[in-house]
Subunit: 519 residues, 2 copies
């Protein structure tokens, strides 16, 4: 199902043209005050601050332009900031940058703030990966002397470098970027802002900052316009970050009467259930590691990576699809889910996810005492080596999918809903968008709903950040959404463990829950 | 009469101690948000911003101090800023600096922001004097290339230098200055902030900024604490500056039921009439130059300058008092007023202010076709030259005093009051504080009120700036006072000129207005 972006994208943006009444003896308000008065009305703000350098050039600028100027304003929870004033010349591009600050990948989109048009996009691996692939390793690294500064420099330098390239690709200079919106998980935004993360992973799990407000880009070391401002999406807590807030806003979950669920299956499993009246959230970090299970098999979609698997149950023949149709070199997370579903339907794994030797035939062998299934033999792979999945990988996937299902069951149950009540199921995140819902249902990772209820949002974190560049309502909305979220602490109690154990079967102990799955 | 400072000085200041509840699993608000929440309540603000560097050190600081810290907050019209957080240790002085930014003199007072105690004071000539002694010369200088930057650097460097000395004099470092309050006229605050002044003196006389709000000291080039903030008193217009707002606040004019008048006789004549319900202001720059008349004879009180004059009407003998009892080298503004009053009472000038040869005797002579009166002969002066006052000087003084009286008459008349209705007459400014009201009445500069109605405020501009360092109510109050002031444009129309002409006699054409003056 195609996702319709939230109507925010139609609301007025941050660029405003003002045509001030010329001063006279009867109206001798100062230049700055005259402009600020007009802008506070336009942007419905009590006051608007500006850097002194703007006011220094204002008197001449106003007179040269006959009191008609183009302004760029942004706001956070309560405060408006005038970022730019200049002649009303649309040939001068006022650019904004939306950043999805992922643990693994960073995706950036350059936007013309005046027209709202996307100008260019780029993505790169988070340079902090050299310190550690996962959040935890990076947080522990900050306990080393200079560790936090090192992680901070890695991400800031990386963004600056790619920002410059992105600008160059469309004939702009980085100093034309005046507004930057950043959505990321709590740890990533903290490292981006150079904030300590030590206590985030220690009981009672306290982040340094929840609401960042506007921060001058220069204070963050970003090479954008001198007065550029950075809007970091607020987080609810250490385990529920601004990327999810961005996702909720992008999906418009908080504006609809009907209850919908939003699931972000990125390097972590985060879930939001709600409507215009309430929002309930929980994060999968409290359950067994879905992250570990997925990342070991690689979540990055690259040329030659298997992303779709079909197995003919009669012949046992594998039909693999790889990205760019290149010889297979690996398998991405969505491919693994596809593979598991197909293995199950072909009888090659049982309801516990264990390989079934009679069906696996010669594909199954033992390596270092561990059963493993050859997906592609070395003579057909791109690397010359066999592409295999071990029983441990499969067990990990089963735990992960069970955790996801248990989380979904728990959060809906908390609100007195059944999984079948979910009319709209949003799947967010790049990884999530690659998952075939049919396969995810087959292995019992997500509930057996009619497929048309599943909607892939794509990169909703980037989508939300882009909205923040376009809509003057967004900062208030993001604060209000943040404040309205009830965070459900997933206590791994007996009840949770019982549900988890029942979900550790394919598709589930209770087969009646998955009528569409016929093995 | 001794002036009772406004009770603001008793209101709570900018330093607050917070004792935060420790976080727990049930209360996992982020560190920054926890602190900000508490401070917004304390300071009755919607939100409080802080520089990222404060939040970076906050998590460790809070834990090391068991969540009990001392904070320094300031606010402007609407926005609160957290300037400092540290251990609750009163041995660490958090200093503030009040600055009276005069055209001629700059006076600074160092204050302990926690106790409110004044630590030290210093004064120095405004270094911009090298460009020009008066405001107009300096404003014209900004039309030269680099002229504004030069004037800005002169005052900033001067303040930085004297700030360092002032700190050293009481064992502090300039980086212990966290808050700076600046009161000055509109031109001086503009030059201090590097703002263009070109249009201030050109119809319709528009300043660049009326409401400055808080400005980071670093943005102004001030060598104070890295996160120090500067609060510049707002101005009403080009001819009514923040120094007057500071004076109103210091006098508490805006809080009393009874109507009072505040007159600042500095290098300009500014008048405010009002009470808690209304405030009406006007400035003497619209009338004939009181400034010129005064400054030509020197307004700076220095050793050897004549500040009091008595003339024995019988013998015609002059009894002069000089500052520090040194041989006379000049005469300051207050001395000139004294001199004119005494000359009038001794019959040596007539009601037009013209020298009366029979009474002046040998003191009167002609120099370059201009009558001049010797006050001190060269053999008794400190310079070896005669100290004289010319007829032109005297004519200028008469015009100046007439302008002042006319302004007072006009502003009270506008409100339907008679000058005799003024129960409280505040004289502000250093120069004003030196004037003997009796002499000023004698020449008809100020109305013939009982002397106990006159109150000298001293340096009310510095007094107001000091209050801003001490009282958390003040920024709101200064904005509200600014907004409430009705500025009376002194149209030099026929009516004004008629009143001015009548006032160009000593004490006045209508002698009945000055019953206490007996020539």
């Amino acid at each position: 199902m195609t996702f319709e972006p939230h109507p925010y994208s139609d609301s007025p943006g941050w660029v405003a043209r003002v045509d001030l009444p010329e001063p006279g003896l009867q109206d001798n308000t100062a230049d700055a005050d005259r402009l600020v008065q007009s802008l506070t009305k336009t942007f419905d703000l009590e006051t608007i601050d500006a850097d002194l350098t703007l006011f220094r050039k204002l008197p001449l600028l106003l007179r040269e332009n006959h009191y008609r100027v183009r302004c760029l304003v942004c706001r956070d929870k309560s405060r408006g900031v005038l970022i730019h004033v200049g002649p009303d010349d649309t040939n001068i591009v006022l650019a904004g940058l939306a950043i999805d600050l992922g643990t693994t990948r960073v995706v950036m989109r350059l936007v013309d703030l005046d027209s709202g048009r996307a100008l260019a996009e780029s993505a790169f691996d988070n340079p902090q990966i050299v310190i550690g692939p996962d959040i935890l390793a990076r947080i522990h690294h900050t306990d080393q002397p200079g560790g936090l500064a090192q992680l901070n420099a890695l991400i800031i330098d990386g963004i600056n470098r790619h920002m410059a390239e992105l600008c160059q690709s469309c004939g702009l200079r980085p100093d034309q970027i005046h507004l930057i919106a950043v959505a990321g998980n709590t740890a990533m935004t903290h490292l981006f802002a150079g904030l300590p993360v030590h206590w985030m992973i220690r009981e009672p799990y306290i982040p340094a900052v929840n609401r960042f407000g506007l921060i001058p880009a220069a204070d963050l070391g970003m090479s954008a316009a001198a007065l550029a401002q950075v809007l970091i999406f607020p987080n609810v807590g250490s385990y529920f970050g601004g990327d999810l807030i961005a996702g909720i806003l992008y999906a418009g979950l908080h504006t609809r009467s009907e209850t919908a669920i939003l699931v972000d299956v990125g390097t972590n499993a985060e879930v939001v259930l709600g409507n215009k009246d309430w929002l309930m959230a929980c994060a999968g970090a409290a359950g067994p590691a879905l992250e570990g299970g997925m990342s070991r098999m690689g979540t990055t979609a690259a040329p030659g990576v298997v992303d779709r698997v079909r197995i003919d149950p009669a012949s046992g023949k594998f039909d693999l699809h790889t990205i760019d149709d290149r010889p297979p070199v690996g398998i991405c997370g969505s491919g693994v889910i596809d593979l598991a579903a197909q293995l199950f339907l072909a009888g090659m794994i049982d309801i516990r996810g264990k390989f079934h030797p009679p069906e696996c035939k010669s594909r199954l062998n033992i390596n270092n005492g561990m059963a493993q299934l050859t997906i592609v033999s070395g003579d057909q792979s791109g690397s010359g080596r066999d592409l295999c999945i071990s029983q441990a990988d499969m067990d990990s996937l089963v735990r992960s999918k069970a955790a996801m299902y248990t989380i979904l069951e728990t959060i809906t149950g908390t609100m007195g809903m059944a999984l079948s009540d979910l009319e709209t199921f949003y799947v967010a995140g790049t990884f999530g968008s690659l998952i075939d819902p049919k396969s995810a249902i087959t292995i019992g990772m997500i509930p057996d709903l009619p497929l048309e209820r599943y909607h892939s949002l794509g990169n909703s974190s980037l989508g939300g950040a882009t909205l923040a560049l376009k809509s003057r309502n967004l900062p208030k909305e993001m604060e209000s959404v943040r404040d309205r979220i009830t965070y459900l602490e997933l206590n791994v109690n007996q009840d949770f463990m019982n549900r988890f154990s029942a979900a550790k079967f394919i598709p589930h102990t209770d087969k009646a829950r998955f009528p569409s799955v016929k093995a």
